[in-house]
Symmetry: C3
Subunit: 139 residues, 3 copies
């Protein structure tokens, strides 16, 4: 069994945003030289997500609005967590809806994807550098 | 390390529905001849889910109603994504709640499951064939 | 490829609660003697979750309140599933929001974690022993 580990850093300039990271992951899989196996991609911070969905701006606006409905940022004082001096309790909730990680099959050296699958970094408490882990295992 | 890849296709006749795919996955694990490892099962489409829960019709009705409350299909015009000509923005949201994939331990050649765990394909924009990927790795 | 399997049991004295299981998982990874690979941790019951987030009591209170808003326990009669004699339909819904499993990278023999990542068992229908599976694969 072979394994390959890499880390990516994202600094989203706004509080919330989605970044398409598919190409970066593809390059790491290529570098790993693993032909059959799996690729784990996870946020290393607990107020961000990695998820797979559509590369469509309108949909990302829908996600943004929907997550704000499910777990609004304000009033900041409504969350116990924010009594510790934080203002990001909502980000911890939004991240649970969108997920921490994805596991992707590697087949014949490629991400084994359906027609529209793209990998996104979801930021819910940005304006600072945050890391993403990529681990490829296989043969 | 050994690996085994297979694809399943589901064509759910209604817009939304849940299909128990546990037996199909079990057969693939058997065919893989892998005794210790993991099995990844993921939707290859971004408006469907793979999840593990109870094989109980009432619960599936609860999921259906609950997901419609969290991310209603109508009015279709409330979603930016649907301005592209689609009407399935809600399906992209529902799929995030239910998840894209499951990773299951294989122990002694079997899915290492608790007493009630069953694997479901969750369709949120059906009436056409959609694929599911199964990747088994291990030894 | 090596693999290592273990099971943990939790008996949460209340209906709902969160238990930090990071240390137990760390010990299992150590025992596995696997240096590079992945670690799967999943609830074996369909009314509990494994998730990764912050070890902060206020945040856990926020999760509790938020999940009750999204999928309230009462009125018990509002759920079809509860007509089978159960009263835990809400637990099956809450578990989907928080997730069944996490997959964690093992690098140099350690859980490869960001600064605040901790692993939690999330109980939504407690007062009885329930199991968690840990599978480590790698080399």
């Amino acid at each position: 069994m072979k394994s390959f580990t890499d880390y990516l850093t994202y600094n989203v300039p706004s509080r919330r945003g989605f970044v398409n990271i598919t190409n970066e992951i593809r390059k790491i899989v290529q570098k790993s030289d693993i032909k059959e196996g799996i690729c784990l991609v996870n946020a290393m911070h607990i107020t961000s997500s990695i998820f797979i969905n559509d590369n469509e701006t309108g949909l990302h606006q829908d996600y943004e609005r929907w997550l704000e409905e499910l777990a609004p940022h304000e009033p900041v004082s409504k969350y116990e967590h924010n009594k510790t001096g934080e203002d990001n309790a909502d980000a911890h909730l939004k991240r649970q809806v969108m997920g921490r990680e994805v596991v992707i099959a590697i087949t014949k050296g490629q991400l084994d994807f359906g027609p529209w699958e793209q990998i996104f970094y979801g930021e819910f408490d940005g304006q600072r550098p945050k890391r993403v882990l990529v681990k490829v295992i296989g043969e």
